[in-house]
Symmetry: C2
Subunit: 331 residues, 2 copies
Amino acid sequence: MSVSIKDIAKAAGVSPSTVSRALRDHPRISQQTKEYICRLAVEMGYTPSAVARSLVTRRTMTIGLVLPSVSDPFLSQVVLGVEEVALDNGYRVFLCSFYNDPVQERSIVEAFLEHRVDGIVVTSSRLDTAYTALQEQLGIPIVLTNCREYAYSVSTDNLHGGRLAVDYLLQLGHTRIGYIATDPQKQANRSRLAGYRQALQERGIAFDPALVGVGDGRAEGGKRGMQQLLALNPPPTAVFCYNDMTAIGAAAALREAGLRVPDDVSLVGFDDIDWAAYSNPPLTTVRQPRRELGRRAMQMLLELLAGEESPTKVVLQGELVVRASCRPLWG
Amino acid sequence: MSVSIKDIAKAAGVSPSTVSRALRDHPRISQQTKEYICRLAVEMGYTPSAVARSLVTRRTMTIGLVLPSVSDPFLSQVVLGVEEVALDNGYRVFLCSFYNDPVQERSIVEAFLEHRVDGIVVTSSRLDTAYTALQEQLGIPIVLTNCREYAYSVSTDNLHGGRLAVDYLLQLGHTRIGYIATDPQKQANRSRLAGYRQALQERGIAFDPALVGVGDGRAEGGKRGMQQLLALNPPPTAVFCYNDMTAIGAAAALREAGLRVPDDVSLVGFDDIDWAAYSNPPLTTVRQPRRELGRRAMQMLLELLAGEESPTKVVLQGELVVRASCRPLWG
DNA sequence: TTCGTCACTGCAAACGTGTGCAAGATATCC
DNA sequence: GGATATCTTGCACACGTTTGCAGTGACGAA
């Protein structure tokens, strides 16, 4: 079918090994033959077979990036960060999304293993702890981002981020503050909630479980969560959302209820996805260093690939980005 | 390093070929040995090598999906559609994004070729026409979505979609209608603009080049494009945007100028990304059958893989989704 | 002339798996 | 009991590369 190194060898009247060396610019091949063979290769439409190469070299120079969903706007910059440093070091990165389904996540990791990627980065895992058990078995390094349950991981300080958001709302005079959560199993959710509780506690405000609505990390869930909070009497005057997507949904629920942001309810998100600055009103949120998250994850993976004992568990700090979705309680 | 079929063979006291057959559930292997070997395989932590397998079978059972950007919300459903039918047919799909850079796009296609994927789907190509030249050389089937310049492609009828949007605005009484474009090289942009012009022409409204603002398909560009249109005297009373992201930016520009949607300016988008229904106000837009786009693309690829002569150039119709971002001119 | 050196190139094995063919073992039939 | 059919397994080669080592020829030096 496709032309191989042997075909070129035959055409050039040399051995396959010479062709291989010529194409890889081996020093002990004469300049003349190199040029001849390279010309022949393009003429014949030769495309080297990475699969044959990997079989003998035992490395693929690829890394697998597994993500919960391609549509997740939070991930775009993370992916960029990963690819950036991967490419700089000669690695290709292939993505695969598991649609927030732990079964698919597992299956994707296995597919990557079968294809013998040199390393794996997984973002926002649904399996988290399971990797510790897998670690030995899989034989290649793997680092998680947005998850601190695993030995090699890089994430943002969610507790600190939660405090940032809620402290800000408290500072504006709000005392009845809601939280719209996501899947309570997610460690990120637990930490942000912990930050929320901690901030309240320091002001001597008792934690009221009724004030935490349940979402799913997406707009739909945010809407439901907000509706849940609006049914309270009285409803909260400010709401901290698990992430920006949740805030999108929350804002829609408020609009449908005839309420306005920030006049009636103040809103704080998390992530600072691209959309946040363009929303109506622009969303106050806790920015995650998304690109840096990706860069650091890939750097850690490179260190592991090089056999270095890498610093485990990098934790980055987020920062509050104040826009227009909050107002003082008695302004 | 990792355990191979030979290791299992040695441990079981049989030949490698027996192990290979046992694991693949070959009918001519006794049930007893099959069970024994399978058990041994999991005990020893065996992971089959897709690369060795592909080398001999000459297929990888993977397809490469190349996209402009993971952050593009339009693509999420397209990807889902592709994966859906790919998985159903035993294919894995690996993604790679080229960040809207034709050079990277080319490089990714080559990487996929080297890794011997069985087929390639590319969405929103920057290379479009170049593939016709490549076609022969690459030796595997490749189908494009969102691009009609190539023999095998599936896309939405952009001209029809543009008409849908502008006809609607005309129907509401608007006559001074703007268009915020993206990169004029993009064929989708040209077609939507053509739909815009055609709709105007049929109502006897002369095309005014000043009424087309220049964006970039993202929020930033939409903002700039809108600012450009607002500088006109008089500004348009309604604006059709190349896509929803552009509309996001346009809305932000209007808000900053102290104008309101739809009271001061009506807005129509294109794509119907998930966000559109949640925006403030909810965005009227032309829905693309995104998931179907992906499904059809992958189906076409499967037909090509099977050697069938596939119907070339599938064109799907979009539909107008009326929400709250438009109002009658004299309401 | 002979030997050593140097610059190139080829041989052959290996990577881990799949598969056609033949061979061995066992059962079946006459 | 021998021939034949059936079931199970092994041999050997192939896939397309890379790479250590040996080999070839030319050329200069002794």
